[in-house]
Symmetry: C2
Subunit: 349 residues, 2 copies
């Protein structure tokens, strides 16, 4: 790690824990990371419950799950592991929880089936792996990593992706594994109301969508070697058409990582994020316009919001600055650095 | 169309017909487009046959197919039609030809199945549609457009995409429709040689791949109203794993269009193009660094080449400048403007 980079790490790197509001207002808190500090940040989706529907017990459960996810990443990073392993481990915990719209807790599509999307990217090598609309795979993020590491491909989808998961020895599960009462009831309400989808992208704004419509989980990390990585996983938009792929498995949309700029993971209505090529836009704003990670995330999110979409983002830059920002009422989120101080959040504090 | 835009159109806009070489050398020819000139450019893939395997009869057939594709787009544009309709029409002709790796002439995957990818993007609205690994749909580009216009989604894949195609009334075909002797023999050779795929992306360089490995078709256009559009369609990489999705249906990778910058369509080893987020990078280089379309295409392609991938690109910018560039031995290509002078090319002239 060069002197310059080290200095930047010490001088510039605030933890920017940006609390969103509809106007994307910010309220930054700063502290100094160590020079070779590692950091992992996670999100459990921007589609949080309304405050009046959040009990204390439920909030405690969410925070415990976020904490457990951070711990999984922390354990890897503190032992000198790579950022790519840390983000995978953190996402696996969120996929295995019924609380988030990914893995176990995934939303149903309009036919009552779970089709899962995920991707992972290594900022050191620009290697990437992604999976779309895969059924019956317990941990899509692990499948995405396997595609990255054990095939010549970046992205696989559908039945072929499941076949590959089987041949790679990944854990397969029956459809009932993904059945949760909350998601099932939510789908029934949506189908009754006829709000499973609008006819056009612009009609499917966040206003039409319940909280379960745009959950996603993700993790970004910087390891001790300065390498960045990002991972995103989702059950996708509730009531989606069979075969629909969102932004989560699209490199440059839901997930992007490059050591020269940032690692970022999005949550939101994926159709807008895809069209903005949102996370790649962040990286390019940093590379070509000299934006900070915070400025880049804000500018990219504004484009999604201007189109009518809701969006949340977590990002970490090469110096370890963390950005967590959302346009809705909250975002399940958290981060931890080398000091082991675990921070989790849901609403504006 | 504003005065400024009009002036830019007249002053700046050369036809940049860039002949590629391994070093991406350029040999530009310029002429002045009309102020409200329309233009459509197409490619039939960068994986062209070696010169000594190209007979006069075969070359004539390729040029005739390219001409027919351009004519389909031209007819729409000259009648005052939109760029989005023109690129779809041009790509349909290439999909229906057995000569190119898209639609009818698609490569087989390693199991002898055809799984097709396509996408389309409207630079005026940033609306986009994409389809991955769909089987049995005669014209994937039309399916991509249907997804854009008649669903709230951008991307669909696999069986769900086929179901939607059926419900939308698109023409479905049996597997034998896509069977061509040339592609079948090529797959057999590849399977015998064990070169159907390398273990890792970086080992799967263009050097390992025969000409049929990376064919793709695409079209970009600027209509009389200054609106840009891009479309890309492919059978994907020969010998690919079932379920593999390449760059063609990824918005920002194989296809991108925005009225403020350019419309671009890529051909090449998609795994590299995805990781570079190649066409979005071009757009951002123009928007944030002031690059011309030619400079932006060149810089983005260089990143793909530096990773070891082969790539070809066609692009048109808001003023009607056309860029056609490739890193391999040639690219099936062509363009036509309002004056009706049809230009087609395969190798360096």
């Amino acid at each position: 790690m060069g002197i310059l980079q080290r200095s930047l790490g010490v001088i510039a790197l605030a933890v920017l824990f940006v609390y969103g509001s509809p106007a994307l207002a910010s309220d930054d808190r700063a502290r100094q990371p160590l020079a070779d500090d590692f950091v992992i940040a996670i999100h459990g989706g921007g589609g949080v419950r309304k405050r009046d529907k959040m009990t204390k017990e439920l909030e405690a459960a969410y925070r415990a799950a976020l904490r457990q996810s951070l711990q999984a990443g922390y354990d890897i990073l503190v032992a000198g592991g790579d950022s790519i392993a840390a983000v995978e481990a953190a996402v696996i915990v969120l996929e295995d929880s019924p609380l988030f719209n990914a893995g176990k807790g995934s939303s149903f599509n309009r036919e009552g089936i779970h089709e899962l999307d995920a991707s992972i990217m290594d900022g050191r090598t620009a290697n990437a792996g992604a999976v779309g609309v895969v059924q019956g795979v317990k941990n899509p993020i692990t499948l995405a990593r396997k595609i990255m590491e054990d095939t010549p491909h970046v992205m696989m989808a559908g039945e072929g992706a499941r076949q590959f998961a089987r041949s790679a020895g990944l854990e397969l599960v029956a459809p009932h594994y993904f059945w949760t009462e909350r998601k099932w009831k939510s789908l029934q309400r949506r189908l009754q109301q006829g709000t499973e989808y609008g006819r056009k992208p612009r009609q499917a704004s966040i206003r039409d969508s319940g909280s379960s419509a745009w959950g996603t989980v993700g993790a970004v990390a910087r390891d001790r070697y300065g390498n960045l990585a990002a991972a995103t996983s989702t059950g996708g938009r509730e009531g989606k058409l069979p075969g629909r792929i969102g932004d989560s498995p699209i490199i440059g949309a839901g997930t992007y990582a490059h050591n020269d700029t940032l690692a970022a993971s999005s949550t939101g209505l994926g159709e807008y994020v895809i069209r903005v090529v949102s996370t790649k836009l962040m990286s390019d704003l940093m590379a070509f316009k000299g934006y900070s990670a915070q400025q880049a995330v804000k500018a990219s999110m504004q484009r999604v919001v201007d189109m009518g979409g809701g969006v949340g983002v977590i990002a970490v830059d090469k110096g370890g600055e963390v950005v967590m920002r959302y346009s809705g009422r909250g975002m399940y989120r958290g981060f931890v650095r080398e000091d082991g101080e675990f921070v989790t959040g849901i609403y504006e504090n």
